[in-house]
């Protein structure tokens, strides 16, 4: 049985529903709420209560995980509006973005194959910069203009950058060992 908290993740933590989030307030709310529902508070009680507490604590951890990262937070906001950003295929993306994707991928593959750690790290910094830019654009699209189609597009770009980021991390880890 899924836990029905009857609230979205923002309401659970008593935070306003927006892409921009007060990180410190989120951390504090997470801890305050988890302190109420965590299984450690229920370890000496009935099996029923232990099980329920685990379900609540699971939900609270999930809410915190989703809201903490900009990408999952943006996806979640779109889902609240009934939009699944991952559902539609990339064919709907602009040709320009698809070209960008290919260029990035090639750059990472080249650097990895020729074991250029410095190049990989430089790419990582550039991608981080791009990510920051996307965050600002998302804030504008979601909180400012309420332009959901634009936001969905931006989320997909961010998904791509995140995947690229992982590829670079893996490549760096492989080169280190």
């Amino acid at each position: 049985m899924a836990v029905d908290l009857r609230k979205n993740h923002y309401e659970l933590f008593g935070l306003p529903v927006s892409f921009r989030i007060d990180g410190a307030a989120l951390d504090k709310a997470y801890r305050d709420v988890q302190a109420q529902v965590h299984p450690d508070r229920f370890a000496h009680l009935s099996d029923l209560e232990k099980r329920l507490s685990m379900q609540w604590a699971t939900q609270v951890n999930e809410a915190y995980r989703v809201l903490r990262s900009p990408l999952s937070r943006a996806c979640y906001l779109l889902e609240l509006q009934g939009i699944d950003p991952a559902l539609e295929s990339n064919t709907a993306m602009s040709p320009e973005f698809l070209m960008d994707q290919m260029a990035w991928r090639e750059a990472v593959a080249d650097a990895r194959d020729s074991a250029q750690v410095a190049e990989l790290e430089a790419l990582q910094r550039r991608i981080r910069g791009e990510g920051k830019g996307l965050e600002a654009d998302l804030e504008d699209a979601l909180d400012g203009r309420h332009a959901l189609d634009d936001a969905r597009d931006l989320v997909r770009r961010m998904m791509f950058l995140t995947k690229l980021q992982h590829d670079i991390d893996n490549a760096l880890e492989a080169l280190e060992s």
Binding site: A35, D40, A43, H44, L48, E49, L52, N61
Partner: protein
Amino acid sequence: MALLQIAEPGESTAPHQHRLAVGIDLGTTNSLVATVRNGIAVCLQDASGRSMLPSVVRYRSDGQVDVGAVAQAAQAKDPRNTIVSVKRFMGRGLKDVAHVETMPYDFLVQDGMVRLRTTQGVRSPVEVSAEILKVLRQRAEESLGGELTGAVITVPAYFDDAQRQATKDAATLAGLNVLRLLNEPTAAAIAYGLDNGSEGIYAIYDLGGGTFDISILKLSRGVFEVLATSGDVALGGDDFDHRLFCWMLDKAQIAPPSVEDARRLAMRAREAKESLTVNEEASVVADLASGERVSLVISRDDFVAMTQTLVQKTLGPVRKCLRDAGLSPEDVKGVVMVGGATRMPHVQRAVADYFGQEPLTNLDPDKVVALGAAIQANILAGNRSADEDWLLLDVIPLSLGLETMGGLVEKVIARNSTIPIARAQDFTTFKDGQTAMAIHVVQGERELVSDCRSLARFELRGIPPMVAGAARIRVSFQVDADGLLSVSARELGSGVEARVVVKPSYGLTDEEVAAMLREGFDHAGEDMEARGLREQQVEARRVLEATQQALAKDGGLLSDAERDPIDQAMDALENLLASGNAAQIKVGIEALGRVTDEFAARRMDQSIRNALTGRKVDEIKV
């Protein structure tokens, strides 16, 4: 949703009742049991004043089982039936265990797991560990003068699901109610009192007899957050002994020794290692079965030289752990040393050099884990006091995933995710008319299934025939606060639901555990049915008591119409209690659970709201 009782910090549910709870460090070399007495954590001692119980179990040919020092003393005489360092075998297959070839046991493999053939028949590591736990439980009950409410058992943070489940099974077999499996580093941090205003990042360096663990903890405002954990499950003090042992064989030019001689020399090696912690030089004297006398002298410098690679080997996981946490050595505010092997001066020096500061060593490294476990057990048992208002947010040490096409792993839950956690992943059929799907659950970081630990395999059957790709099979993972996984799968696409729930269990199946308990070697004379009834009665009383308290406190959240079914279900359960029928009582408990769903949700909601506005329930109560 049923009824949740909300205990405020500083308020146990039954204020005047102190529940007996213990912390147990089930160690590779030694095990300890501790409790909180008059607000202070202490290790409990045996009749001769020793608190450390050697983790050694001997199965005697006369049917008796010896545990501890007595068993240890018989090691050389009866190596095959005297099991030492059994923790290394918990939830393991034979290929996972280091130095198998030098061990004197008669191993066999059942269901992929290690078992040992002894004079009393085949024993699993779970059963061997249960013997150790039984002795500790008995020690505690005699010392505290009553039945235990429960125990916190510590495990290395790096233990995978198989090893955790095996540990919990052992505790169940020993008749212990497990309040929580607690990670050893977290226990150590609690023992050091790092909760009291110790803000910042701490590293827990734990070099035990058989395992090495490193954890990075973040402490802030009473919250212990494990940021990352790493380690080596086959590296510990025993390996230092082993190096010395090999050196001795080499120096004394002993051809492969007999099993008895090997034991004798291994014991001398350990003594020499311990001596070198305080002395610059140690002498080793051993009489072999042949009558030959081995007499050697080793300097600390030589010992350091032959074991430096082992010390360096611990720093690999340390670096990995810091990288996972996104930190550097200088971010660490303090380093806590755990495990007897950290007494070795060259280990302390290596740690000090790496972190650029002297590690914390003022608590006995052998006892620190048990003491921390006792403090947490006391809290979990409901004896929480106002100044113990902390929260442990632990993580899962290794990623969990599923096998997909081509023997690849699809990760479902990433390592270092905060527990409890649940995650679902959707899959589909790849053949037209496919009605079953094999699900293989694995744990590990590698991409290939063959490089990860296999946790469970099961089949989802009864999928309605559809074209390939039309079925939607959702596989759900749930990891509880003990770090234990359960998996379920169902087909969503057609609206037809097929469902399987698998709880992986290692070394022993649930049925085996139940059967062993039924054999009653621990609860001699007690009928299994009577036990089942008693458990249901206890649970029913707990639920009734909790409901009454909740109604007394927050009954105002309900309208009369909402309250009626609750009162009725309570009356019904009261009546069932007298019936003496375990199954019916269970039904009654579940029925009460159903009608209190909504009430529980409202109460939890209220408690969360109060927490967010920074008020305690007591303060807003009129």
